[in-house]
């Protein structure tokens, strides 16, 4: 057995041995605690993590704003990000100790007085010239822990700032931005560690998940997501991911992609974190026959050991860019047989709703949540594998397309997905999922491709089109046991923001047309809307202050849809850019 710890090997060369750049004393034990994070779903006076509790149900127990009173909701204040920087705003704000924090485009972080909307401080991360985010210069939010606010940047760093002063406390670099590494997801805090995954599969970047001490930034463990790569823990070898060349041929795993770019979910009971692993690279699957683990999979990573405990692959040998990045939400799944199982639910880019046992990964249910899926007729519950219809773009080596290309196929969903990054809500009251879905398809074909650092690594061409003439977006209420759509509220443009459900019987989400909307959670009736002046692609939150219920969301159109343009550009023409944080309340009595 070869010695795996040769001195010549550089483990993550850009990580300093001392654990990154610490610019100030680590924070003391005050501030946000592990207990705050664990109890978040029941705590209404603050919002410290992604999704209102480690299980990320995005469900609030607040009900002063409810189906009767929501029609009276008004803005309390609005804050502009300014700085001659607009583009997409996809953050979920957080609230703690009188401050509301949100990230903004171009790796900025703002602290604002939560009562008045006045700016407290602003951090502008200095980004180098050559950043390569695939899908807009966005960020999905900062996590709070101790006295720190922690977020990922477009040049592949994680930065922690003091909540009170805005001064940088530590920084850590997780990858090479010139190779296409960026970080966009809301970091996950678990047992005093911050967990962050890198993005960049479109450039052939291989995915990693890194756990750092949240107060100091010191790297604890790194877990690569692609077979053949070896993880580390405390600087030492921590086992290979998978088995070399078990599911990847030759050296294709070396640029295999699989970035878990939309982050993960912490399950305190199981001591696990569930990560949605992105697409295999290149998009042209003919270069990489085999299942290509663990691309297009959910992996359960032990929070302490950094090892993969189980996995389930949604799309073996992906040829459609059907990333598995949708959030994996722990919930109690009541099966058709009446049995309840601790499970995770996932509304996948590929148009299927999956339920897996979260102890073993075993598939329990898989049902379509968008119309007219073409790539698979169903998911076989016995094998866990999709039953494909042959709807793959053809092999260029076999011709069939014009000069050098393979045959073109029409596929639903397209690579932007039946649902993309933007998270669902699960109501603990109605026991329904609320899913921001999109109905659209693509012509896709494959072409030859060569890897080169800094260039896109696809080997595919495509044209995206809506499926229906009058709408793309559809907010769907889905029964978790059957996958049946109970109601839907359609939208002309896509739905590209997160969803929030409340004990007040409401479901909130924003639209590209600029509206923050509230729907009746039981019926889908639209009960309230407010025009924020630019498209909303952020995730709304709600909290309580001075005995009143408030709601906040960021506004500012951008993201992948207006960048990829094409045929769907028509549904989003005339939407102007912006960049602001909005806070809403019931009128003062």
């Amino acid at each position: 057995m070869p010695n795996l710890l040769l001195g010549k090997m550089r483990v993550l060369p850009w990580l300093a041995a001392c654990g990154g750049l610490a610019l100030a004393m680590p924070a003391s034990g005050q501030g946000v605690t592990d207990a705050d994070i664990l109890n978040e779903a029941k705590a209404t006076k603050h919002v410290v993590g992604y999704g209102n509790g480690p299980h990320q149900h995005r469900f609030s127990t607040l009900d002063k704003i409810n189906t009767k009173t929501v029609k009276s909701v008004v803005p309390a204040w609005t804050f502009s990000f300014g700085g001659e920087k607009q583009r997409g705003q996809q953050a979920q704000p957080v609230v703690f100790n009188g401050r509301i924090f949100t990230t903004a485009s171009y790796s900025r972080l703002f602290a604002v007085d939560v009562k008045t909307g006045e700016k407290l401080w602003e951090y502008n991360h200095r980004l180098p010239e050559g950043i390569l985010p695939c899908c807009d210069v966005i960020n999905r939010g900062a996590a709070l822990f101790g006295n720190l606010a922690i977020f990922g940047t477009l040049d592949g760093m994680v930065v922690a700032l003091d909540q009170a002063t805005g001064k940088v406390v530590w920084k850590q670099t997780l990858g090479d931005y010139a190779a296409g590494v960026s970080i966009t997801h809301f970091p996950i805090i678990a047992k005093g560690k911050v967990l962050v995954a890198i993005a960049g599969s479109e450039f052939g970047v291989v995915g990693t998940i890194t756990a750092m001490d949240a107060l100091t930034g010191k790297v604890v463990w790194v877990r690569p997501t692609i077979e053949g790569w070896t993880g580390t823990k405390d600087g030492k070898d921590n086992g290979m991911t998978g088995k070399l060349n078990a599911t990847w041929p030759g050296d294709m795993w070396k640029n295999g992609g699989g970035c878990a770019w939309n982050g993960g979910v912490y399950d305190p009971e199981a001591n696990l974190s569930y990560w949605g692993v992105g697409n295999a690279a290149p998009w042209n699957s003919w270069y990489r026959p085999g299942d290509n683990l663990y691309a297009n999979s959910v992996i359960a990573v032990d929070v302490d050991t950094g090892k993969i405990v189980w996995h389930y692959q949604h799309v073996p040998n992906d040829s459609w860019d059907y990333d598995s990045i949708s959030e994996n939400i722990p919930f109690d799944f009541k099966g058709k047989d009446g049995k309840t199982t601790k499970a995770i639910g996932n509304f996948h880019k590929n148009g299927f709703y999956y339920v897996n046992d979260r102890k073993t990964g075993k598939l329990l249910l898989a049902e379509p949540f968008v119309k007219n899926i073409t790539w698979a007729s169903k998911i076989d519950l016995a094998t866990g594998r999709p039953v494909e219809t042959g709807n793959r773009p053809g092999d260029p080596a076999k011709g069939g397309g014009e000069g050098g290309k393979g045959t073109t196929v029409w596929t639903i969903p397209n690579f932007l997905g039946g649902k993309n990054w933007n998270p669902v809500a699960y109501s603990d009251d109605t026991k329904l999922w609320y899913v921001p879905a999109n109905e659209w398809g693509m012509d896709i074909w494959n072409e030859p491709v060569t890897f080169k650092k800094g260039a896109a690594f696809l080997g595919a061409g495509f044209i995206i089109r809506p499926v229906f003439p009058d709408y793309i977006g559809s907010l769907k209420a889905v029964d978790p046991t059957t996958g049946k759509v109970v109601w839907e509220a359609r939208n002309k443009g896509v739905l590209w923001g997160g969803v929030l459900a409340t004990h007040g019987g409401l479901v909130f989400t924003g639209t590209p047309e600029g509206y923050l909307k509230a729907f009746d959670a039981k019926t889908g009736a639209e009960l309230w809307k407010y025009q924020t002046g630019s498209g909303i692609t952020g995730s709304p939150i709600t909290w309580e202050q001075d005995g009143e219920q408030w709601v906040a969301v960021v506004s500012g159109w951008g993201g992948a849809v207006p960048l990829w343009g094409g045929e769907v550009a028509k549904s989003h023409a005339n939407i102007t850019q912006g960049g602001s944080l909005w806070a809403f309340r019931l009128p003062k009595k």
Binding site: C134, P224, T450, A456
Partner: protein, 145 residues
């Protein structure tokens, strides 16, 4: 160009066992010292001097190559098929001829970086000059007024 998929030799097995996350992979293009993400085989090579105007104007092969290259390297900001979604400039409206060439080349080569913001990455060193002009040929072919 076809991609040579080999069974791993023993040296690959050891390399795999020793591979640690984030060691950059060696660019692979079988038999080619300088891998190119845009394959311009069949177009007359340009050499090291940067042309001021498009040497492949109207060239059908260049347009075909450029269409594919645009879709993979440019469409993620400028829009599929040249149809912008409103954030990046719509290149269908770039002037044809020498005038458009002058506007096209500098940002493509050097990127656009203003006041701390990367508006466009640079492609010099990533795409060859031949590849850049092939993309320009395709952009001209979808020009609208």
């Amino acid at each position: 160009m076809t991609f040579d998929i080999r069974k791993p030799s023993r040296s690959w097995l050891i390399a795999g066992a020793l591979a640690i996350a984030l060691v950059p992979a060696i660019p692979r293009s079988h038999g080619d010292v300088n891998p190119q993400p845009v394959d311009t085989t069949g177009l007359a090579p340009i050499g090291d001097t940067w042309k001021a105007t498009n040497p492949y104007r109207g060239n059908a092969l260049a347009i075909k190559i450029g269409k594919s290259a645009y879709n993979q390297q440019c469409a993620r900001c400028h829009g599929i098929g040249g149809v912008s979604g409103g954030l990046a400039p719509d290149l269908r409206f770039l002037e044809t001829g020498d005038e458009g060439d002058k506007a096209y080349m500098p940002p493509t080569r050097k990127g656009v970086y203003r006041d701390g913001r990367t508006l466009m990455p640079k492609y010099e060193g990533v795409i060859s000059q031949e590849g850049m002009w092939a993309i320009r040929s395709w952009i001209e072919s979808v020009h609208e007024n």
